[in-house]
């Protein structure tokens, strides 16, 4: 697509080869997103919701089928296509599958209208909070159905992000996934002030972070003369350019990626945004954005910076430790359950980084597995959170969760199970995930870091347990929240999350095999 600029050289330009079968899942998702926008334009209001939900679910399933069909006879080494800007290799396929499955669950939560008539999203984004119209929209059944195409755009961006084989494509994908998320954060039906605040914060900080990411790209381009990951790797092997450019560029690039993965000192947006955003969107962000960010991080570190790992590893050690410490310690005193899960996600980002730093096959497959496991657990956790409600909407303050086991034993049991999975108790996916990640880190010579990680995972168990104690051993508040009976969609999403969490804990072999199916495509 850059060929036009060579026109002054004269002569026809070779058209890039495109392996349509390989990128079909992305094409389906992005194409359906465009169709969704058209549907928004032409359908009358009352038809939009069912059609959009149907289209979105169908799209994800279709993309999954296309992916499944391709995986069957995909070349083992992976391929690169679109002039080498997109790599479709084993990790990318695994991450696509993970993203599609998680997005399916998230879309089910987004589409749910059983716990609240009209769903979790505002009827008209243009109405100012606190006005008469706003009070009217809370009880109306309409919703801003643009959420569905926006979700698909974000999903398409995430899938491209994990497969991007050059930094420019990665940057574009980053924006394609981020911009819809910024908007969706501000679309909560209730508590719109904090929802809009979350959107502003996420947007400003996200734009700030992508500026760093971009400056990093510029420096690496200056260093290697190309933004292809493989070319950067080749340049690190031997070039006369200044290493200052390389490491400054690497550092700034990491800032952008770590921000999206809510790691370390770049986590500050996470609690605020997780708390303010509509819960289904929080679930989508917590599960899918994390997968996409770490997928891209893995690719960058493995493909472009493998040979310089001794120089950058120490710095990422510090980042991982900060992330685990911040998540585990600050999580202890949180009073809002969504914020608490947000801090948990920061701690988990630290654990994931431990696995990511092990530039080995075990590190790769372990981290991929961890992402799959964590995504489903956290998705189901937010699904459960969306069910505990009082008159003003979701009752996310922890005091409202006191004695929940007496009101709804099943819900309390499910949430306990999910918290145990987050804490990494055996027979849940969390244990297997931590086990494979930590043992990969250990065999790559990071013993002290593993010790620190284990200590922080024990500290983090404190605050998961706090919620369990609260649910089981406290008397329910007199005018406490009610537990909504979930409709089919939410039930399906939570069940999906719980079943996967259990399955990956008991029979992880299948997923581990798939995660370990192969490395990144190195050819360009």
């Amino acid at each position: 697509m850059l060929n036009p600029f060579l026109a002054q050289q004269g002569g026809a330009i070779e058209t890039p080869q495109i392996d349509y079968a390989a990128i079909l899942p992305i094409l389906i998702v992005l194409g359906a997103a465009c169709v969704g926008v058209l549907l928004e334009a032409f359908l009358p209001k009352h038809q939009r919701w069912p059609v959009q939900v149907g289209l979105t679910l169908l799209t994800i399933v279709a993309a999954g089928v296309a992916l499944g069909a391709y995986v069957g006879d995909a070349p083992e080494q992976g391929i690169t296509t679109l002039s080498g800007t997109v790599a479709v290799d084993a990790p990318a396929l695994f991450l696509w599958g993970t993203l599609l499955a998680l997005a399916l669950g998230a879309v089910l939560l987004i589409a749910d209208r059983s716990v609240e008539p009209g769903g979790a999203f505002v009827a008209q984004a243009g109405i100012s909070p606190g006005t008469v119209q706003d009070r009217a929209q809370v009880s109306s059944t309409g919703m801003q159905t643009e959420v569905f195409p926006l979700t698909l755009f974000a999903l398409g961006g995430m899938m491209t992000f994990t497969a991007a084989n050059d930094l420019l494509t990665m940057f574009i994908a980053l924006e394609v996934l981020s911009l819809p998320l910024y908007l969706m954060c501000g679309l909560a039906r209730r508590r719109r002030l904090i929802s809009q605040e979350a959107a502003v914060k996420y947007f400003l900080l996200g734009a700030f972070a992508s500026a760093f990411f971009l400056y990093g790209i510029a420096m690496l381009y200056g260093y290697a003369g190309s933004v292809r990951l493989a070319d950067i790797a080749a340049a690190t092997a031997g070039t006369d350019r200044s290493d200052t450019l390389l490491f400054a560029g690497f550092g700034l690039l990491m800032v952008g990626l770590l921000f999206k993965g809510s790691v370390g000192p770049f986590h500050t947006w996470t609690p605020d945004v997780y708390q303010g955003a509509p819960t289904p969107i929080t679930a989508f962000m917590a599960a899918c954005t994390k997968v996409a960010a770490f997928g891209a991080l893995l690719r960058v570190l493995f493909v472009a910076f493998e040979s310089t790992s001794w120089e950058w590893r120490g710095v990422l050690w510090a980042v991982a430790i900060i992330s685990m410490a911040v998540g585990a310690i600050l999580g202890l005193t949180q009073t809002d359950v969504k914020r608490m899960i947000a801090y948990s996600s920061i701690a988990h980002a630290g654990f994931l980084l431990v696995g990511t730093m092990a530039i080995t096959d075990e590190g790769l497959s372990g981290t991929l597995f961890y992402l799959l496991a964590y995504g489903f657990t956290t998705l189901a956790a937010f699904g459960v959170i969306s069910l505990v409600r009082d008159a003003s909407g979701e009752a996310t303050h922890l005091s409202a969760w006191a004695g929940l086991s007496k009101r709804s034993p099943l819900l309390a049991a499910v949430f306990t199970f999910l918290l145990l999975a987050l804490a990494g108790i055996p027979l849940t996916s969390g244990f297997v995930g931590k086990f494979v990640v930590f043992s990969a880190a250990l065999s790559d010579g990071m013993a002290p870091l593993v010790v620190i990680a284990l200590v922080f995972s024990a500290v983090a168990a404190f605050f998961y347990l706090r919620v369990v104690v609260l649910m089981y051993f406290s008397e329910p508040a007199p005018e406490g929240p009610t537990v909504s009976v979930p409709g089919a969609f939410t039930t399906a999403a939570i069940t999906l999350g719980v079943v996967v969490t259990l399955l990956l804990g008991v029979l992880p072999a299948f997923a581990l095999d798939w995660a370990g199916a192969g490395g990144f495509a190195l050819s360009s």
């Binding site: 697509m1 850059l2 060929n3 036009p4 600029f5 060579l6 026109a7 002054q8 050289q9 004269g10 002569g11 026809a12 330009i13 058209t15 465009c34 926008v37 058209l38 928004e40 334009a41 032409f42 002039s83 243009g126 100012s128 006005t131 050059d166 420019l168 200056g222 190309s226 933004v227 292809r228 006369d240 350019r241 200044s242 200052t244 450019l245 400054a248």
Partner: protein
């Protein structure tokens, strides 16, 4: 990116790849100074300054003079339609960014290029249709 062999580039490459790039090291120091300045001004201000506020101090000064009183409650300083139009303008701006380079080398790109740019314009048109159907083009 496809590697290009632009004319005259080689000479410049010789010229620029010299030791000059190590000037990035002082740049890092510049970063540090900037950061220090930011920290200094953000943290020190509230600490040492007297916190006596009056209306004038709190008012926005970014745009020079105090804005005139709001015309409509619940509205803005100017109708939202202005913003919508501005955003539409930006959208078409973006379109031009890609159309112009295509036009320059349309010959070399051949039929494939026509197909690609048509797809691009069609995709772009979806957004226009959305704006149109949602009343973004109605001034009132």
């Amino acid at each position: 990116m496809l590697l290009s062999q632009a004319t005259g580039g080689a000479a410049l490459a010789q010229e620029g790849a010299g030791p000059g790039l190590d000037m990035y090291l002082p740049l890092v120091i510049l970063f540090a100074l900037a950061l220090g300045f930011a920290l200094f001004s953000v943290l020190l201000g509230p600490l040492v300054g007297p916190s006596r506020f009056n209306k004038a101090k709190l008012s926005a000064y970014e745009c020079g003079i105090e804005p005139s009183p709001q015309p409509v409650v619940g509205g803005g300083r100017m109708p939202v339609a202005y913003y919508v139009t501005a955003m539409l303008f930006i959208l078409f701006d973006i379109e031009m960014v890609f159309l112009f380079p295509y036009a320059v080398s349309a010959d070399a790109l051949g039929l494939w290029g026509v197909a690609a740019i048509t797809l691009f314009i069609a995709t772009f048109f979806i957004a226009d249709i959305y704006v149109w159907r949602r009343g973004g083009l109605d001034w009132n």
